[in-house]
Subunit: 494 residues, 2 copies
């Protein structure tokens, strides 16, 4: 039985029909019967919302509704099916150093499905667009290049006679007083410019930094790259292990989402976009949807991403500080493409920033889907630059830009989720631009009876699945505690 | 108000009264009323038992009893109070790379209390008992010594042209097919003897290995030291970060235990030692206690440590494979001592194995309890050798052995938990001797309606708090699933 089809995603197939909308196990049916009033309404069925709803509904005394604008669960993570393979269309990576997602995997016995992305763990050659050269060049000595990155990283993340460990000793606790906070204003490029190293090394490292947020080092906060480095054990090899090596096999992130949903005892409404959240009478919140329907709730957990919060009308409005954060948004507005190639390719990784050269910021050979051998061809994964390549139907452009990263590739098709055009995401995974630290605590604060939960303002693995789950747990615990204390107060008044 | 007093632990105070039994928040009262029959009885209120009982009892339909032989919770972890400070008398270390305990800390908002042990993270000098020298010597160049350890470690953990990553790519999944399994028979000393490095480096590294299991490298399984190395990111600095740097401040492990207990909705019975577990009639288990009292349960979660399982009479008996595992036990039979010194000491770390020299295997300067400055003196933490120093009242011997590690120390008192003599532990944290891998899967298997859960056979951070919590979650999920399927079968038969 083939899975249902989401309206999302795009498939280009050189030898067959191309189409919008892809089959995925992430499409789920809503509940048959729903109420108009709940104890808790959770908006958004991404990881934060799924975990929050599940956690709250484990308390059988609370009536919970999970409300989702899309036709599928998972938010910025989902698995589409094409050519007999599973493709992660969004957020992908997990690791046992990401405590919240690893705990969730373990809860469902899915840690046994972990597998590596062959392309990232044992790269044989690296492509790179050097300054003032027209074409992508191949780095001749990968071991030397990698050693250079490790060496520059240690200098890049050390500052004012402090080691990276001393600058950010507690990467999971941004609100604890730590030296890194005083460098919040600095871009990654600013820090590179301070180093006394050859310009060539600066350029190569700067290109590498573009993989943190699909944008140039000059727009990427230095402290956000340091956060990855610290979370990943203060070293390049361990960082890539922790941040970008292991994916979930056997159904991927969507399988994990479905496991969490299977534990959830409340109601679900799909395809229902929220337009406003009103807290008027002091007893709860009114949730208005685009089709005119309403729900009321004693508490709301709002998991809408930072770049979309401005689309919701809050009454009373969000605090000035929150509005400022929403207005800034985050800087990672990239697209994600999976390419399928006829030929078997060696492992590669390609950068083009900071000097342009392609509308893709970076790309890499990916594992071969569910196949254990690479005999049948090659898949590659590439990330589009902010605002570029947002039209996946323009296959001539897409393929020609791909070839700038990987000239020998013979593309037979691709899959894409153009996240910049996604109305419920307006971007990819969170990445900070300079001066964004102050917004973090602001976004974590409740807005009256509305709790805000999203990976975009997580404490640890911000922008990762792990951060989404962290915030989902947190919001559920806060809502349960707040409803319990309300209950205690009620009993005391009797 | 001073906390209640456990019968456990010993305080020696040169300037005041010494005593057996120490004040601790880990002493808790049992329930006022209990039943004779439960759905689930959890034996042991260490981390595995606390988490298992909490998880099961969150399902309000199940009646749960937590049964503990001691007068306190925490098992091999607890915090005693002395001289106005908190002391971890057993298992101590946590980290965000230990996913299960970090999730639990986060659940209770305790990650903000993490603090480092100053002594281990910035050692200024290292003491070492060299071969054929009578006294402990000071390593003159700590940076050089540390670089030597890093270098030897890379050789030690690489084998047959494989890097440590290739030998153990999935450190959290011992049952997944990986190259390390073929080296299960090898001791750490065996591997050292294979290396083409100076004997002096072998001896120093061998001494270091003794800190994994408070015993000589010749009795320590090479694969178990590799497990620490892999879990800690395949490097010495990251391994020590992950395994032995961060403790919980502000009440320590006991505070975390109390938080878990506060979520638990079932009954608690303290001071009740289980003597036998009988599954006779096919419907459940009979739990007999040393005072003649009994409980029945549909399922039992038994969290008794490996080295004590032989003290319980199982009827029907454990499988031959389980009996073999129990008979072997694990090799870490050490004691733990905290010393208080008048003088302010620099940071130090001391080894004595493999050449003896002291009845302590290793020791280090510890942080100054809850004090933020070191102006008021120094605390040090030392681990006794198997079977030695098990009498804490023999203060002359204890202090003279301490001085072999740290000759200039002026001891004004010490605290001790002599784990080897503890009838409910019979040892310290788990460490494997060669040829123990096969026992792991055996111990994880249920014995009829009895689930076995203990850090001693955890998949990942075996022997750590993290491993205990991992196994607690696992046992609770298995018990709930098994009771739910029984329920489904019952309904189908109606």
């Amino acid at each position: 039985m083939s899975p249902p089809r989401s309206s999302e995603g795009y498939l280009y197939d050189a030898s067959g029909p191309s189409c919008r909308g892809l089959p995925t196990e992430a499409v789920v049916q809503g509940s048959l019967h729903t109420r108009s009033s709940y104890d808790v309404v959770v908006i958004g069925a991404g990881f934060a919302g799924l975990v929050a709803a599940r956690d709250v509904a484990l308390d059988r005394n609370l009536r919970v509704l999970l409300l989702e604008a899309r036709d599928r669960i998972g938010g910025r993570t989902w698995v589409a099916k094409a050519w007999g393979e599973d493709f992660e269309m969004g957020g992908t990576y997990v690791h046992w150093c990401q405590p919240h997602v690893f705990g969730e995997l373990h809860r469902h016995g899915l840690e046994k499905d972990l597998k590596t992305s062959a392309g990232t763990t044992a790269t044989e050659y690296i492509n790179y667009k050097p300054k003032e050269k027209k074409d992508t060049q191949r780095v001749s000595d990968v071991a030397k290049y990698n050693a250079m990155l490790v060496d520059v990283a240690e200098k890049f993340f050390s500052i004012d006679d402090m080691t990276p460990r001393q600058v950010m000793p507690y990467p999971h606790e941004p609100s604890r007083n730590q030296p890194w906070q005083r460098y919040d204003h600095m871009s990654a490029q600013d820090r590179l410019d301070q180093l006394d190293i050859p310009q060539d090394e600066k350029d190569m490292f700067s290109a590498h930094v573009s993989s943190f947020g699909s944008g140039p080092a000059s727009e990427t906060a230095w402290v956000d790259t340091l956060r990855w480095y610290a979370l990943g054990g203060y070293g390049f090899p361990t960082m890539y292990d922790a941040a970008a090596s292991f994916k979930i096999g056997n159904g991927g992130t969507t399988n994990l989402c479905r496991h969490i949903l299977s534990e959830y005892n409340g109601d679900v409404v799909m395809n229902k976009q929220v337009t406003s959240l009103t807290q008027a009478d002091g007893s709860g919140a009114l949730i208005k949807c685009v089709d005119g329907s309403n729900f009321t709730a004693r508490r709301v957990i709002c998991t809408i991403p930072l770049n979309c919060l401005g689309d919701i009308k809050f009454d009373p409005p969000l605090s000035i500080a929150k509005q400022e954060a929403v207005k800034r948004g985050h800087m990672n507005i990239g697209e994600k493409y999976h390419f399928s190639m006829d030929e078997v390719q060696g492992n590669w990784f390609a950068n083009t920033s900071p000097h342009g050269g392609a509308d893709f910021v970076f790309g890499l050979k990916d594992h071969d889907g569910t196949q254990s051998s690479i005999k049948q061809g090659t898949y590659a994964m590439c990330f589009g630059k902010n605002g570029k390549l947002a039209d996946p139907t323009n296959y001539e452009l897409v393929i020609s830009e791909y070839k700038k990263l990987q000239p020998e590739g013979r593309v037979k098709g691709y899959l894409s989720h153009t996240w910049s055009k996604d109305p419920y995401a307006k971007g990819a995974w969170f990445c900070a631009s300079p001066n964004m630290t102050k917004h973090l605590a602001v976004l974590q604060r409740p807005h009256g009876r509305i709790l805000m939960a999203n990976a975009d303002w997580a404490n640890g693995w911000r922008g990762f699945i792990d951060g989404a789950i962290e915030q989902g747990h947190r919001a559920a615990a806060m809502v349960k505690a707040s409803l319990a204390s309300e209950q205690t107060a009620k009993i005391a008044m009797l």
